[in-house]
């Protein structure tokens, strides 16, 4: 434990020093400009971040911080003002060779309530179309899981479908291949990994529903695969450089302990996820549209409870419109955006066996937002959140509304 604390303190001190010196053009620390010469996709998000590099040292550092204050009220009941340090993330990257790279992402969520190595992998490039990756990899399901840095988004909360349906940020130990190829205005990419997978907590949890994110509560998931069956995650994506990107991804695995000490306990029970994601930019109006939809299928035992859904689905749609781009408050090229997110999650798709009536357990939210970006790497966000959550039985929904103000910035 102590070594982790020492490492964290060292990183903090080093980060603080770099923050002080980065504005000094004569300093030996240099900001590494994002490489825009190559086609960028969601899968490139881990590398497409601002880093600071000391001289010709092969190691670069970076990170971001994200915090918010909010006042939410559900059916007239409020917990009052709440302030949260959502996360602080540190990046360390290293180029061991121009075709061998290492990148890691260490995340502290809600203070130090959760400390996770979200990403720590070594990339070996054989050709641009064929790279080998090993370590803790981010399972490329949907787009948000790959491209989740807070400063990139105009909303204080991560999409509900990414955190309450899919387990973003979801990473596991494993290995795989990835690559991409460009042809004129088009870029094609793929990723395929085998990693440790889910466990039974997805249907044995305190949420009282099938809940994929519960698998992250397994503290041993980075050292032991729960049932020995690797989780396959694959994604293909295509990007038209000026306009849009579309991705199709899947995760397929077994979540239950079907065998122990050579004894058969149950049949193998599958968890399958499919996701489609897209983003669109309208060059004329600078409007950006970003969305994702996921379908989850879990083989829940018939003798368990229908409380735990076999089919789930959900997604989000973000629209961001810059309304002012000019020097503001002394910041050159500051941008003021209007934005809106619509998000939906249905944790239990289907009908009750007893009555044939549709099962509830779904949530719909709309989040209008104003964001101010003094620079591309920093965002101040004011969101209004309106949420309608219906229980399993389909009773009148609980209504939540309120305001959130937050900041997120790379450093």
């Amino acid at each position: 434990m102590n070594k982790y604390v020492c490492a964290i303190i060292c990183c903090f001190i080093f980060s603080a020093q770099t923050a002080i010196t980065q504005n000094d053009s004569t300093a030996w620390l240099q900001r590494v400009a994002a490489d825009t010469s190559k086609p960028q996709l969601n899968m490139d998000a881990v590398y497409n971040r601002p880093f600071l590099q000391a001289g010709k040292m092969p190691v670069a550092l970076g990170g971001y911080v994200e915090s918010k204050g909010e006042y939410l009220q559900t059916d007239g009941i409020s917990e009052g003002w709440q302030f949260q340090m959502q996360r602080m993330t540190l990046f360390v990257s290293s180029s061991l060779h121009h075709r061998i790279k290492f990148l890691s992402e260490l995340e502290f969520e809600e203070g130090t309530k959760e400390i996770n190595i979200e990403f720590a992998s070594l990339d070996f490039q054989i050709t641009p179309l064929f790279n080998f990756r090993s370590g803790i990899v981010m399972n490329p399901i949907g787009a948000f899981n790959q491209n989740h840095d807070g400063p990139k988004w105009e909303f204080n909360d991560r999409p509900l479908s990414s955190t309450q349906l899919l387990p973003a940020t979801f990473s596991n130990v494993g290995l795989g291949i990835w690559g991409k190829i460009a042809r004129q205005d088009w870029v094609f990419a793929y990723e395929a990994y085998l990693t440790n997978g889910f466990d039974q907590q997805i249907i044995e949890n305190n949420e009282n529903k099938t809940f994929l994110p519960a698998t992250k509560n397994n503290p041993g998931r980075f050292e032991e695969n729960f049932n020995g069956v690797p989780l396959f995650t694959g994604k293909i994506a295509v990007r038209q450089r000026k306009w849009f990107e579309i991705g199709l991804s899947t995760m397929q695995g077994i979540y239950n302990k079907f065998e122990e000490d050579g004894l058969r306990l149950d049949k193998k029970r599958a968890v399958r996820v499919w996701a489609v994601d897209f983003n669109l930019s309208l060059p004329k109006t600078k409007t950006s549209v970003n969305g994702e939809w996921a379908w989850v299928s879990v083989d829940v035992p018939d003798t368990y409870s229908q409380q735990f859904g076999e089919q789930q689905q959900g997604g989000f749609l973000d629209v961001v419109q810059p309304v002012l781009k000019r020097k503001m408050l002394g910041f050159d090229n500051a941008v003021l955006n209007l934005a809106c997110r619509i998000e939906y999650v249905d944790w239990n798709v289907g009908n009750f066996k007893e009555t044939g009536i549709n099962i509830g357990d779904h949530l719909l939210a709309i989040v209008p937002a104003v964001s101010f970006r003094p620079s591309a790497q920093t965002v101040l966000r004011l969101n209004y959140r309106r949420r309608h959550q219906t229980d399993l039985l389909g009773n009148p929904p609980a209504l939540t509304g309120g305001f959130q103000f937050g900041v997120a910035s790379y450093f």
Binding site: K327, Y384, R386, L392, P396
Partner: protein, 396 residues
């Protein structure tokens, strides 16, 4: 620049000051949950502890769920402290008369029809008597708990001495060791008057709660230490404190508030309710005795029940029973909160003991036996009178 800043500031202040954007509290009479008025600060704290244990404590295999179970939490069956649905309905089987249940070795009296992964749930033995029982609302249970045995017996009329066709008898039950008889308890052949449950087979809220943890969720306690799967005594899986907190929560849940009690149709319907003798069993007014909770002590309340068993006719006779009740006998369910039932039943009604009635009127038509007279009087009402009676019932 300044105008933009002023605009942003103005918009922000406007938004922040607009309370309409914050969802308001529903009217108090539209909610079944919430504590009785007049609890002390300490009692409110205990109520909140019980609220968490009842509604938020989700049991998993790691925390003791099952292996055989019906539901994963108390709140799963009583959404918003209201009635349940066919999804949360449980099944009891085996007992056909007052001599007892001879199928305990097969898992009786309650069928645990769900199981954690890897286990096989119970199945009903062939050709056996059983009843499906839809969870009742929890509200106002503390008031019902404080009605004296003497008051209940005063409403009984076993031999129909008054000749109104309505008798009404208590269910005489045996008490488990952990249940202490209340002050003034009446005893008959070592049996006591039950008052909770569809057959009035639970004595008090501790009996009901400890039994539900065990039979519904498969959770053992020091009160009910036998695992429903192993049928052996095992370590407690819930603390006494949690069980007692839930008991206190149930005890101090408020009584449902009638909506629009002075509306003309509601008042007219109330008259008709008495006129066609519904009130012979659904007694409008009861009184509590002394209680350590001052807010519940010596109160007059309006549950529309007599806590007694009545023969409801062959259509509602499942062949199964509990205690000394005959299979066709059911305890008069309290009608308070009836109009709010759809708020916990997915927007529709599932009434009668097994949820078979999809409306209040359908439930009335299913009344037989001792209630046949009232049912026929209801059928004889004019359509407008029926609407008034239904308006009254929906106001409860």
């Amino acid at each position: 620049m300044k105008k933009w800043l002023a605009l942003i500031l103005l918009v922000s202040i406007s938004i922040l000051s607009c309370e309409k954007l914050l969802p308001p509290t529903p009217a108090e009479d539209e909610l079944l949950d919430g504590p009785v008025l007049g609890l002390s600060g300490e009692q409110n704290l205990r109520f909140l502890e019980g609220d968490i244990a009842f509604n938020d404590e989700i049991f998993t295999p790691q925390t003791g769920l099952g292996p055989l179970f019906v539901a994963t939490s108390c709140g799963s069956c009583h959404a918003g402290d209201g009635k349940g649905t066919p999804f949360t309905t449980l099944i009891r089987f085996g007992q056909t008369d007052s001599t007892g249940n001879y199928y305990l070795h097969l898992g009786a009296p309650q069928l645990q029809h769900r199981a954690i992964p890897g286990y096989t749930p119970e199945a009903l033995p062939p050709n056996i008597a059983f009843s499906k029982l839809t969870p009742p609302a929890n509200t106002g249970l503390g008031y019902l708990d404080l009605v004296s045995d003497a008051d209940i017996l005063a409403m009984a009329d076993e031999n129909d001495a008054n000749g109104d066709g309505v008798s009404g008898v208590p269910n005489w039950i045996k008490l488990p060791g952990y249940v202490k008889p209340r002050a003034g308890a009446v005893i008959k052949n070592d049996r006591y008057i039950g008052r909770f449950g569809k057959k009035a087979s639970a004595y008090d809220l501790l009996h009901q709660t400890a039994s539900a943890y065990n039979q519904d969720i498969g959770i053992t306690s020091t009160f009910e230490p036998f695992d429903t799967y192993l049928k052996q005594e095992v370590e407690p899986e819930v603390s006494n404190q949690a069980v007692l907190d839930v008991v206190f929560y149930l005890q101090t849940l408020k009584a449902p508030l009638q909506r629009n009690p002075n509306a003309p149709d509601v008042l007219a319907g109330k008259e008709l309710f008495t006129q066609i003798k519904c009130s012979a069993c659904h007694r409008p007014e009861l009184k509590t005795g002394d209680s350590e909770v001052a807010a519940l002590s010596n109160q007059t309340f309006y549950p529309y029940t007599d806590l007694l068993l009545h023969d409801m006719g062959s259509a509602l006779d499942d062949g199964y029973t509990e205690g000394t009740a005959a299979p066709a006998e059911w305890r008069t369910p309290p009608l308070w909160g009836l109009g709010l039932s759809p708020n916990s039943q997915g927007g529709r009604f599932f009434l009668m003991h097994d949820g078979r009635a999809g409306s209040i009127e359908e439930a009335i038509f299913l009344h037989g036996g001792e209630a046949e007279g009232s049912r026929n009087l209801y059928k004889a009402l004019q359509a407008s009178e029926r609407q008034k009676l239904l308006a009254f019932l929906e106001s409860l």
